[in-house]
Each structure stands twice: as C-alpha cells, then as structure tokens.
Amino acid sequence: MTDATLKDTAARRRISLPAIPVSVALAISWILAMLVIAAFAEKIAPYGFTQLDLRNRLAAPGNVAHWLGTDELGRDVLSRLLVSIRISLLIAFGATAISAVVGTTLGFLAAHFRGAVEQLVLMLTDFQASMPFLIMALAVLAFFGNSLPLLIGLMGLFGWERYARIARGLAISANAQGYAAAVRQLAATPSRIYLRHILPNIASTLIVSTTLVFPEVILMESGLSFLGLGVQPPMTSLGNMVGYGREYLTRAPWIMLAPATTIVITTLAVSVIGDWLRDRLDPTLQ
C-alpha cells in the first residue's frame, strides 16, 4: 500500500515536473541557493564577517573589492549577509522543527486520550493563539536573558498550536477510518499506529502548515533581532543587520537594504512554494 502510493506519487511527480510554474521554480531555486549559502557561508564569503577594512569604510556597493559595499567599520556587507543567512535559517529551521514535533505530538496525545488531556491541549492552543507571540517572546527574553539555544527554543514555541490543532483533528478522523482500525485489531501499539500509519497519511497537510509557519518564524526572529533583543553581536542575523543598518540609513542605505531584500524574497519564496504545495497536496486546505 505504502509502496504503491509512493510509486504512484513518484510517477505523478515525474510526469508533471515540466508543469512547475515559473514562479515556483524561481522560488525553489532561491531557497536552494539560500540552503547552499547557509551550509557554506564562511567558505563562500570573500572576507571574514567581522574582518575590518578601515580604509574602505561605508564603501558604496558595486566596487570590485566589496560587491555589496561595506559598513562603517569597513566590514564587507556581502560576507556579513552570507553569515546572517546561515544564522537566520538555522534558527528558522530549528524552531520550525521543534514546533512541528511538539505540536504534532500534543495533537496526537489529545486525539488518543481525549477527555482531560484533550481539554488541556485545546486550552493551551487557545491561549497560545490568543496572546500575541511577540509579547510573550519579549517577556521570556526579559526574564531569562538571551542566548542562541534559548532563542531557538523560544522560537520553537511559535506556531506549535497550529500543528496541534491540525494533528488532533486529522488523527481523530483517521482513527475512525478502516486502516487505523485494522492495524489496531492487529495489536499494533498506539505509537506504531500514530507514527507509522496515521502520520504518513496526514503528513502532506502538516508539511503545508510548515510552509506557513517557517516564513513567520523568519519574520519573528528578524523582528526580535532588529529590536536588538534576538541574536546578539558579534553574531549577526538578517534582522540584526537591518537594525544596525538603520543607524546609517542616510549615508549607507545598502547596509540595511541587502538583508531586508533577502528577508522579503525568502519569505515570499517559501509562501509561493507553500501555496503551490497546498494546491497539489491538499485540496481541502484552501
């Protein structure tokens, strides 16, 4: 059954590959480029991201030595941008993975135990959905101070309630379907039923939700870093660069424009891919 479905989707994918719209192809290439940059940031970067070049301070973009110009300490904007992309993507991927795992697990627990557990999970999802995340995140940062692991963990609390709601709803309806009942009759343990049978069947919807949460995590992290409360110097992230570039808006707008453009295009690309996946994988989620 699983093999057949796999082959089936593989075949469908092969046939329809040329049918990928140009916008989606561009979005995928952009994301792939971002991933390559994130993986090899320090190797590709022409300079160290903290390396000073005091003779070339606030150099405009377009010169041979510094394609994207330099900041007021003569640090190469391109090199900083590449390292920032790595940090921002690391946080975004880490946080999205945490929130997907936590949310799906809680959703499954709610669907499995029902009763009090379900009420508790639903209460927490309502609470999370009703409080603006930025405010809660700021409160936690105020109380605990800041570090990269804490920031990733904190951002991992973002969006979990959506996975929990979706996973709970879909698992409840899957439980009522034949295949779940069949494996249950075959004495499969609950974890086997949920992880091996129900999860693959609802994965497409969860993946689509990921494409919605991921760009929001990028925006949230860059917002926090922009305010100076996220990633701390000397480390840099896209939001940090924008926040820093803001001081030089009049004299050197390129410091802020390069990371700002990267944020906008990346969130746009993920949304474009997400919309396309949603149409392909999950016609019910319109």
């Binding site: 209460m123 309502d126 609470f127 009703s130 409080m131 603006p132 930025l134 405010i135 809660m136 700021l138 409160a139 936690v140 940062l141 105020a142 109380f143 605990f144 101070g145 760009p215 925006l219 860059s222 917002g223 922009f226 305010l227 100076g228 409360l229 939001g239 924008v242 926040g243 803001r246 808006l249 009049t250 707008p253 802020m256 700002a260 944020i263 906008v264 969130t267 746009l268 949304s271």
Partner: protein, 309 residues
Amino acid sequence: MGRYFAIRIGRAALTIVLVVTFAFVVLRLSGDPALMILGPEAPPEVLAAFRKAWGLDDPIWFQYLDYFGAIAKGELGRSMRDGRPAIELVLERIPATLALTLPAFAFKVALGIPAGIYAALHRGSAIDRAVMIAAVAGFTVPSFVLALLLVLVFAVQLGWLPSGGQESWRHAILPIATLGLGGAAVLARFTRSAMLEVLGQPYIRTASAKGVPWRKVVTSHALPNAAIPTVTILGFMVGTLIAGAVVVESVFAWPGVGRLLVVAVANRDLAVVQCILLLVALTMVTSNLIVDFLYGFLDPRLRAKGAHA
C-alpha cells in the same frame, strides 16, 4: 444567549488566569527575586529579611495565590529603573500608543474592507490583482522594513516628513502609514476571501434566480454574511494593537507602550514587562469578548441556539 456569554466570559477569565500563571512561572524560574532586586552583593540578613517581607519563604502555592491577590489589588510592583509603580509608567504611555494605533486602525478599516469587497465583486480586475499583490507584500515585508523604506523615501530622499520623534502631528504620519498599510493589505485579502466564500453559496444563487437586483443581493445577502469572519479578524487586530506598535514605535522613537516594553526588556525591568504583559492580555480578552458579543447580533443562528441551550 445567556449561556453563550457565560461560557465566553468564563474563557476570558481563564485566559487571564493563564497569563498571570505564565508570568508567575517565568518569574520564579528566572531566579531568586530577592537576589535579582537587591543584587548579589546584598548581605545575607538583608536577603533573608526581604524574603520574609515578600513571603518568598512560603510554600510555592501560597506565593502563587498571594501573587494573584496582589495583581487583583493592582499591585504590580515598582520599576527597577526609577522606582515608580510600574502601572503608572505603563498608563502614562498609553495615550501615545493610542495616538498611533487608533488612526492606523481607522485607516486599515477604511481602506482594507472596501478594497476587499470591490476585489471580490470584480474578480480578476486590475483592482483585484492589486489587492492580491498588496496582500502578499503585506505578509512578506516585515513592518520594520516597511518603516525603514518609508523613512528612506519620505524623510531621507524627499525630506517631506520627519523620521522620528513626537513633536508634531507630522511625526505621526509615517508610523501610522506603516501600521495602516500592512494591516489594510491583510484586511483586504481577508475580506475578499470572506466575500468570495459567501458569493459562492447557494442562497446567493437563489436570490439572483428569483430576480433580486444584484445590488440588493450584495447589500442584504452577501455583506451581512461576510461580516461575521471580517469582525473576527478586526477583533484580533484590536487585540494585537500593542504588539504591532512595538516595532513601529521603536523605529520612529515614539514614546508609547511598545517602546517602553522594548526598553524594559533590554533592561530586564521585570515589573514593567509583567505589567505590559497583563495589559496586552486584557486588551486581547476584551476585544475577543466584544467580538463574541457582536456575533450575537450579527448571527441570528447563535441567538437561536443560545435561546434553546
């Protein structure tokens, strides 16, 4: 109806309890309050006296109840920066925040809702496409980038408007535009899809088929039904006004609650942060309650259900 509201009010109270619990847990997890307030150099006797005075030696559940009691009485602690009651600091910033967020909210509604309705009624038109593009931009361009772009164009390049501060009404234009533009795009897209959803319903076809003029179909069948989801998102927007102001007030050096929050977080001024957290929760809960109340008026089905329940 009564039961409907009783449940809503119960949930609102529960949310407030959860926020207070959240603040309490985070506060206690983050370290010994005595050490944090008095500093690590404080002599042990002073620390002990402080703990005794503030009940920090009591069992944790007792402290928890105490904490609730203090908050219920409006005792939200003092700012560690200047020693004034945190609630005073927060309250005096509220007018400045409202001066930005209320006009921005009016702007969002005045621009977003008509644009969304028009786009839905003229699907595929130039305006429809413009609304969709604006909506995508509203989602992908974060407010701090939009704010800086507006500053770059209108303050730096054109020199028409000041880039920050609160001296005159001209200082408020760019922050209001930043808040309003992003929100209007979101609202337009939301209204559009709510309208499209309603326009696809069988009762619209029935109304058209029995010869009701299109204008009347829209005003008395489509709009009232599309109002329900739109009111939901409006309520959510009212609830997130302060959160939205955090970034914009920081960019434009506007002395409101949002900026106070950022400064308080950077200084770890816990009493102020906690006070703003509660203020946000109260705003959120109140706006949700108002939305629920409006549902009662907008949706006759809810009234009927409430009467029978």
